[in-house]
């Protein structure tokens, strides 16, 4: 269906990222000297307690909350030098990034199919082609039978699958997921995590998942711990295998 880039190309590289909120007495260092590289086709987990800086790192990598200093390259393209954008961030997000959150954040007045289709149309895919590709993605993620349902009529797990389909719609270099299973039971949470692995390994997308869920760590290629804004060396999962 699609020509994917080589698996060994970095999906994202971040160097020495620091994020400071406030100044003077109210200064808070949310992230300090974070350096990380995620290859295409890799799925990694970011672990850590609340306030460790996981979401700050994720939103920085997602180009929605620029760091105070440091550099970010996505797909080999420098995109941020400190807070300074080197490209049009919105256009770059459109082409290269996908997002999944704790809540599916589906647009309530669009059905499942349209929620995926709109992501494609935003990227200038003609409506008919967008519809076909959206349906293929829903089928790939196992929710094609709910294509015409509004989000209200979908279960939490189904909503997250649609959200993943939407995030993958434009074949992003990188998929960022922030606590995607927090609102799901353990069974459905596991299904979603396995879905990320499937996406990463089959489609060559780099996937970064912020999670507290210790039960599904085996699905990740690497896990990283964050604490007090500092990232610790990653650990390779023993059970994860490239399919």
């Amino acid at each position: 269906m699609t020509n994917f880039p080589p698996a060994n190309t970095p999906a994202i590289e971040v160097f020495n990222l620091t994020k400071i909120y406030g100044s003077g007495n109210t200064e808070v260092v949310a992230m300090k000297g974070v350096t990380l590289q995620v290859a295409r086709g890799q799925v990694i987990a970011l672990l850590g307690p609340s306030g460790a800086g996981k979401s700050t790192l994720l939103t920085a990598m997602g180009l929605i909350n620029p760091p105070t200093s440091g550099r970010i390259l996505i797909g080999g393209v420098p995109v941020l030098d400190g807070p300074l954008p080197l490209v049009s961030l919105r256009a770059f997000r459109r082409h290269h990034l996908g997002f999944v959150f704790q809540k599916a954040n589906l647009i309530p007045f669009l059905n499942a199919l349209q929620n995926v289709q709109v992501a494609l149309e935003i990227n200038d895919v003609p409506p008919r082609q967008a519809r076909r590709r959206a349906l293929e993605l829903l089928d790939y993620l196992g929710v094609a039978d709910r294509a015409v349902n509004l989000p209200d009529a979908l279960s939490g797990g189904q909503q997250q699958r649609v959200a993943v389909a939407r995030a993958l719609a434009n074949q992003p270099d990188l998929l960022l997921a922030d606590e995607p299973t927090a609102a799901l039971d353990s069974h459905r949470g596991r299904q979603v995590m396995e879905l990320f692995r499937k996406v990463a390994h089959e489609r060559g997308t780099g996937v970064i998942v912020v999670t507290h869920d210790q039960r599904s760590l085996d699905v990740f290629d690497w896990t990283y711990e964050m604490e007090d804004g500092v990232i610790h060396a990653g650990a390779k999962s023993h059970t994860s295998t490239r399919s």
Partner: protein, 403 residues
């Protein structure tokens, strides 16, 4: 995919109710404009239908449409002698309010210069023009009189012989056409006691003067009919209308008449200007101000509604931005809804107005120019009212999705 249409489908009830609300407001704007147009049309109906080239009125007055004007009825004979004058007719017009069958009947009494004018120029929906010099009238349908109905005015009883439609005076009262003599009889009707007192007063005035004492016949005449006293003039009329012969310049005839020291002369255009910018000017400005206020209110209400609709979607808009949606897509979502809301409101105003306005007591005249004008205003206020929502939507940061 049209996001605006999808959103409306999802909130169709609220959107429909909002459109109805906007439609009702716009209907009032349209109605105000129609009332103004109706007032002008009503004011001009007599001037237009009579078709006089010149109006000769009391000196230094602007004629019966502006103020009281009194000229002698025999002025018409003098005017007929002016070169270029084809016809000259007396014009009598005044309002009366009388009791008729237990209800107040307010009408504009209009005198026709019988026998030259029997009202044949009046468009009748039923009946016929006047056929005799007294005791007949042609009534506008708005007066609620039926063909053949008897109407007592003063000491005389008049029969409705013709019915017209749309013949109303500038004040909105239906016009009743009588002969000039009957119109004056209605206007100057006095009770028997008032006549007796007037005659006694005349006698007393004569007694107090030398001439009354040396000419006893004067006392006898003074106590008799007014028409028997040469010194008392016939009742005055409001104006004389003049038509010039074909090929004659009305301005030239007007210049001749204007040289007379006892009268003033106005052209047809003068009368139209007087009616539109004089008599109904304050009403015109008042209605104009109301229209402006209503348009402002409509804009504010639309803006608030669109702003609320935008706030409801702010999280979705942030999500769209996170996905990389261009500003044009976000603006289009809000602007299309605003235009659709305005368009639906306009349609509702037009259709509902078309049904309701004919039931109004005064004429509401909707012209194509007013409709196009309102359509342009609706487009403008739709764009303006969406500005607040657009401003809010464009300020939303994509990371709002995380909150």
């Amino acid at each position: 995919m049209n996001l605006a249409a999808q959103d409306i489908r999802h909130n169709v009830g609220r959107f429909a109710l909002t459109a109805v609300g906007i439609g009702l407001l716009l209907m009032i704007v349209l109605g105000m404009s129609g009332i103004y147009r109706g007032m002008i049309d009503d004011a001009l109906v007599v001037v237009d239908r009579i078709g006089a080239d010149l109006w000769v009125v009391q000196r230094s007055t602007r004629g019966p449409f502006a103020e009281v004007s009194r000229v002698p009825a025999n002025l018409e004979h003098r005017l007929r002698a002016v070169p270029g004058v084809a016809s000259a007719r007396t014009f009598v017009s005044h309002n009366v309010q009388r009791e008729h069958e237990g209800r107040a009947l307010r009408m504009n009494v209009h005198g026709l210069a019988w026998p030259e004018d029997n009202g044949a120029w009046v468009t009748l929906t039923a009946g016929r023009p006047l056929a005799q010099s007294h005791y007949e009238l042609i009534a506008d349908v708005s007066l609620g009189l039926n063909l053949g109905e008897k109407l007592v005015l003063g000491k005389d009883t008049y029969t409705v012989v013709g019915i017209t439609k749309g013949m109303v005076a500038s004040g909105g009262d239906g016009i009743a056409f009588f002969t000039t003599q009957d119109a004056q009889a209605v206007q100057f009707d006095l009770s028997g006691e008032a006549i007796r007192l007037e005659r006694a007063a005349r006698v007393q005035r004569a007694v107090g003067q030398d001439i009354g004492r040396v000419q006893p016949l004067l006392l006898e005449r003074g106590g008799g009919l007014s028409s028997g006293i040469p010194a008392l003039a016939r009742p005055m009329v409001s104006a004389i209308t003049v038509r010039v012969t074909e090929g004659t310049d009305p301005a030239a005839v007007a210049a001749t008449i204007a040289a007379w020291p006892d009268v003033s002369v106005h052209t047809r255009d003068d009368q139209v200007q007087l009616l539109v910018y004089g008599m109904i000017d304050k009403a015109r400005r008042q209605i104009g101000l109301f229209r402006v206020l209503l348009v402002i209110i409509s804009t504010i209400i639309m803006a608030l509604i669109l702003y609320t609709l935008t706030l409801d979607k702010i999280h979705d808009i942030a999500m769209l931005k996170l996905m990389g949606a261009r500003n044009s897509m976000i603006v289009g979502l809000i602007l299309q809804q605003a235009l659709l809301l305005g368009g639906l409101g306009f349609g509702i105003a037009w259709n509902l107005g078309g049904w309701i306005f004919p039931k109004f007591p005064r004429r509401v005249l909707i012209t194509p120019e007013d409709l196009w004008g309102l359509a342009a205003v609706v487009v403008l206020i739709s764009v303006l009212s969406s500005a607040l929502g657009i401003w809010k939507a464009l300020r939303v940061e994509p990371n709002k999705v995380l909150s």
